[in-house]
């Protein structure tokens, strides 16, 4: 809770820094706020003992609205690290003409992050709704932050319209759940689910809530927005959406479905089908892409499909698997985006052909991207492999068919993840534009690469926090 308040206040300060003509202070202020936030999460995690899902603060303190548990702390930690990396990445990548809005962009990101924190710690459906909206509304603006580019406009509007549409669906679902149970409190809902008959109204409501959440994660058939919005938005925002937003909404869904609705409410079959469909749609469409950002959008859809395995698994350790997976996925995605941004800045487009010959002209970038891609594809000795392995092992006891489909999909994914790798190392350069990097980008790359390999060789780096 302290974390949420702190980040909100910092967001306001950052936002106001432009009024006081202190726009240059926005970046250091934001980074500082995030680092302090990370410190708070650490400290909280150290204080905690015992159960993964119990808050150390009495839940009644916040009127049963928020329950910040170790689960929330770990998710917040992953999101904070991702935000720090993304904001560092943005230091030099925001175009000079948009520098004017720098403090607005950071302020909005921080607000969005607040929503994300609420989403991993809500205890009441009002907070779920508020969390999703606080997360989304700043993102609608961020997606359209390149005011003069039609692609950015289109992305913003598509995201906004479909987003508010699904908010309506989500709210209708919440209303139906309220109608069936008479309460918004998660504990009361849990009791309702585990004792006695579940009414049809509740079930319909549950499915509509699932639809609302699926939209934000990008699950089939609610995924249509994500490729368009990802490719239209500025890269920094896309990276934020692909990592932080996905992590937080996934945490929210995990809380709702694994913790509250329980495993055997008859919804796991639905989720398993959605998971399989999501993997296939994501991976198959990704093979046909020529733009890097769009490919990454489909890749993120596919990864959401893998992650659903954790939700249909009866194993309690699946929460840890989700955290490990999200951490590995976020590191690799941010690393890949960093390289893409360098290429895009120098060549003007994110087409995979623009990566040709990068292995010769800038081997550091090429190596970093190769490692990131290997991690996303799940090649051993990377974080992506170990997290996938962990997830699949846990999921095996639930739906083994789903695991087999997931493995087939991993094989398919190698095809498109290695497209840029092949382009970089085996194709001759098509133009003589030099791909340059800068310090902040290099720092992010190194952190990502070292993180991927360290977690890949020694997953306890992250799992130790969850024990």
């Amino acid at each position: 809770m302290k974390l949420i308040i702190f980040i909100t206040i910092s967001a306001i300060i950052v936002l106001f820094s432009s009024i006081f003509n202190a726009r240059k202070a926005a970046l250091p202020l934001t980074l500082m706020a995030l680092l302090i936030g990370l410190g708070m999460v650490f400290q909280y995690n150290c204080q905690c003992d015992g159960s993964f899902y119990r808050s150390i603060v009495d839940e009644a303190t916040y009127r049963n609205m928020i329950s910040f548990t170790r689960f929330s702390a770990l998710f917040s930690g992953v999101m904070l690290v991702a935000s720090i990396l993304i904001i560092t990445l943005s230091a030099n990548s925001i175009k000079p003409i948009f520098d004017h809005y720098r403090s607005d962009i950071y302020g909005l990101m921080l607000f969005s992050l607040c929503g994300a924190f609420i989403l991993v710690s809500y205890q009441h459906l009002v907070m779920l709704f508020l969390g999703i909206e606080i997360l989304s509304i700043p993102l609608y603006i961020l997606a359209g932050s390149r005011k003069n580019e039609l692609a950015s406009n289109e992305a913003a509007f598509k995201y906004f319209l479909m987003g508010s549409f699904t908010t309506g669906v989500l709210l209708f679902g919440i209303a139906l759940i309220y109608g069936a149970t008479g309460s918004f409190d998660l504990n009361a809902l849990m009791t309702y689910c585990h004792v006695g008959q579940i009414s049809t109204m509740f079930k319909v409501g549950m499915i509509m809530v699932l639809a609302g959440m699926s939209f934000k994660i990008g699950l089939v058939p609610f995924h249509f927005w994500s490729p368009d919005v990802y490719s239209g938005s500025p890269s920094v925002v896309t990276a934020f959406m692909a990592t932080v937003v996905k992590t937080s909404v996934f945490g929210a869904t995990y809380i709702l479905f694994s913790k509250v609705f329980g495993v055997n409410s008859g919804w796991t079959d639905t989720l398993a089908v959605i998971a399989a469909a999501t993997m296939f749609v994501g991976n198959l469409t990704a093979t046909q892409q020529s733009g890097f950002k769009r490919m990454m959008a489909y890749s993120s859809i596919a990864h959401a499909g893998y992650l659903l395995i954790a939700m249909v698994s009866p194993d309690l350790a699946s929460g840890k698997a989700v955290i490990l997976y999200m951490a590995a996925y976020s590191l690799a995605t941010i690393g890949a985006f960093a390289v893409m941004m360098a290429v895009r800045r120098c060549t003007g487009s994110d087409d995979i052909n623009n990566f040709n010959g990068l292995g010769k002209s800038n081997p550091v970038l090429a190596t970093a991207l190769t490692i990131a891609m290997m991690s996303l594809a799940g090649i051993p000795l990377t974080a992506g492999f170990i997290s996938k392995y962990y997830l699949f092992t846990i999921g095996w006891s639930g739906y083994s068919t789903l695991i087999i489909l997931a493995i087939i999909n991993s094989a398919i994914s190698v095809y498109y993840y290695f497209k840029p790798v092949i382009a970089m190392w085996f194709k001759p350069s098509t133009s003589d534009i030099e791909i340059k990097t800068d310090t902040s980008l290099n720092i992010v790359l190194w952190v990502c690469v070292i993180g991927i390999i360290a977690v890949g060789v020694y997953p306890d780096l992250i799992l130790a926090f969850a024990d």
């Binding site: 598509k158 669906v169 939209f215 490729p227 469409t285 306890d460």
Partner: protein, 629 residues
């Protein structure tokens, strides 16, 4: 001490990293200092570890938890006990000498820094192999040394033949590795763990078929790495690598990894008499077989290579009769004198400008005095002149075999020992005595090697002389009041009973061997020096001699038996199974993926209303799906 232990493998790794990454820009002196210095540091720490073990017994040092998948828990942890401390001393000690030697030997080579980087990587892997406290880490090191061996055999990769030799070594090793890996799987399945302590605690006092299977599989791994029949043919070819590599990897350390593996798992092998019997016979035949081939080789390094195979056979015989500490004793002395002989041969080759054929040498005694003396000491040690190290350790093996199994293996082994002395003397006489048979240029070029090369030779020569006193036999104990240090030190190995040979037996062996070796010395000398007989060209050999000089045609037999049929099969599988069935299947799958991707891509039309329609239809479908049931 526990934390210092981590630095033992870490130092060579750091050396590898520095030399590998920056070596190109560093001067040769600095590369040499970094390469040798890191190994020297590891050696000093190993000495500390050795005394620590001597004082306080074995200890463990866990660096970090590595993997935890289900019930499989693997730590990166080191187990320092008598066995590993001894191996560490050999690896880092001899490794250091050979690093020093390489500074002189490789000085003209363009790949100087690469050579040192590989050597350091090898030392690192080998240390992991002997220090690890579980089979997984051992396997990691095992593969590491295999890789380094491959890289170093093919170090002069411009020569296609050398590349082929490297590949041959790699493939033969892989066959063995498969056995080792299967063995580890079986161990994990049987005992539910891969850590040495847990496995050996669970295994003590058991027996039966499973243990035998595990032992045989582990031994197949050892066969590959330690060049035993039928996987030995790679070792003579491995002489393509630079000579320091042959000394370090293919004589002193890596090839003894198989012995280490069996000693480490002595609990398991002691529980399986069948597997032990198997090992003994394989070792016995390898020893005899390789020794006969050694009689007719004319390449100085090939003779030594076959000699190594033969000596490794001796060690396996010893393991087979349950005398594990005796095998380790022979590993140690062999490391001394065989490294010495290889480095000596390297010095000769260096002086001869790359010539390796002993028919073109002769009379090098005058121009290479230090090399000559040290080489002579090595020759006498391996031939079995008391009280040099080779005699004492070989004598102990013979005694253990005599009392352990019976007379036939003993007699065969004695014959092998006689053959050993014969081919070694032949090598010595042809190289160092008589008249020079090379070209005029070579004669002019002859020179003693630089100090960096001769000093390691001298140190190794001293070790070859006194190394035997680590395990003095009974009669010597009586006279000198010494004791068998090694037997006491290695008491953790599961030796099969302690055999005390009778004194009469020992004296008989002592005098008989002196007399026999002396007879061989004079016979060989009269043959090659007084009568000036020279080995004939391979083509002119007849009968059994031809069979020997052609190495029993084993390479050709393998070629016909395995390589050709496999090529035929792979041709078939390539054309039919691969191209038609697999490629067809993969292409079908691939085009399925492609078409599916295209269709799905078409669905992503960019139109907002279709998207929302998709979402609504999807939601309705989910609702229907849930309520139809």
């Amino acid at each position: 001490m526990e934390s210092l232990i981590l630095f033992i493998p870490l130092l060579p790794l750091i050396g590898f990293a520095i030399n590998g990454i920056l070596g190109k820009n560093l001067s040769k002196t600095i590369v040499g200092i970094i390469g040798s210095g890191s190994v020297l540091g590891a050696f000093i720490l190993s000495v500390f570890a050795f005394f620590q073990v001597l004082d306080a017994g074995s200890f463990q040092a866990v660096a970090f938890k590595w993997l935890e998948i289900g019930s499989l828990k693997v730590d990166v942890g080191f187990q320092i006990d008598q066995l590993s401390a001894m191996m560490m001393m050999i690896i880092t000690g001899i490794g250091f000498l050979i690093h020093i030697y390489s500074i002189g030997y490789m000085h003209e080579d363009a790949g100087f820094y690469k050579f040192f980087a590989y050597l350091n990587l090898f030392i690192f892997s080998m240390l992991l192999l002997v220090m690890g406290n579980n089979y997984i880490l051992l396997f990691f090191g095992w593969e590491g040394v295999g890789l380094c061996s491959y890289l170093l055999i093919g170090f002069w990769y411009q020569n296609a033949e050398f590349g082929k030799a490297a590949r041959k070594a790699f493939i033969m090793n892989r066959i063995g590795d498969l056995g080792l890996l299967l063995g580890i799987f079986f161990i994990f399945q049987t005992f539910g763990s891969v850590s040495f302590n847990e496995v050996f605690t669970a295994a003590s006092g058991t027996g039966g078929t499973v243990i035998t299977i595990i032992c045989v599989l582990l031994f197949i791994g050892a066969m590959g790495k330690s060049a035993q029949i039928p996987l030995y043919t790679w070792l003579p070819d491995a002489m393509a690598g630079p000579t320091p590599v042959s000394a370090l990897i293919h004589a002193a350390t890596m090839v003894t990894a198989g012995i280490y593996l069996v000693c480490r798992s002595s609990v398991l092998f002691a529980a399986s008499p069948e597997a032990s019997q198997f090992i003994m016979y394989i070792g016995l035949f390898t020893a005899l077989f390789a020794a006969t081939i050694g009689l007719k080789q004319n390449d100085i390094k090939k003779v030594l290579a076959y000699s190594t195979v033969s000596q490794l056979g001796f060690m396996f015989v010893s393991l087979g009769v349950g005398a594990y500490s005796t095998a380790m004793f022979h590993v140690t002395t062999h490391a001394f004198f065989k490294a010495l002989l290889f480095l000596g041969s390297g010095s000769v080759i260096h002086a001869m400008g790359g010539e390796q054929d002993i028919r073109k040498m002769g009379g090098l005694k005058k121009s290479l005095p230090i090399t000559h003396i040290t080489f002579l000491i090595g020759t006498l040690a391996i031939a079995g002149i008391p009280p040099l190290s080779g005699f004492i350790s070989k004598d102990e093996i013979l005694a253990k075999v005599y009392y352990g199994t019976g007379s036939l293996p003993f007699i065969l082994l004695c014959i092998t020992a006689v053959l050993t002395a014969t081919y070694m003397f032949r090598l010595y006489f042809l190289t160092f005595l008589g008249d020079f048979r090379g070209t005029h240029d070579q004669k002019h070029h002859l020179h003693e090697s630089p100090k960096t090369m001769t000093i390691p030779l001298i140190i190794l020569a001293i070790l070859s002389v006194i190394g035997g006193f680590l395990g003095t036999p009974e009669w010597m104990n009586h006279i000198l009041g010494t004791e068998h240090i090694l037997d006491k030190y290695l008491s953790l190995l599961h030796n099969k009973g302690i055999i005390h040979p009778s004194e009469i037996f020992e004296y008989v062996v002592l005098f008989v061997s002196i007399i026999v070796v002396a007879i061989i010395w004079f016979t060989v000398k009269s043959f090659y020096i007084s009568k000036k007989q020279l080995p004939e060209n391979d083509e002119d050999e007849k009968g059994f001699a031809k069979l020997l000089s052609k190495k029993y045609y084993i390479d050709e037999i393998y070629n016909t038996l395995f390589v050709k049929p496999i090529e035929a099969i792979s041709e078939f599988t390539h054309n039919f199974i691969d191209k038609m069935l697999v490629d067809g299947g993969v292409n079908l799958f691939g085009s399925g993926v492609k078409e599916g991707g295209k269709t799905l891509r078409w669905l992503q039309s960019g139109k907002l209303e279709y998207y929302i329609m998709g979402m609504v239809v999807g939601l309705l479908l989910i609702l229907v799906f849930n309520f139809i049931k």
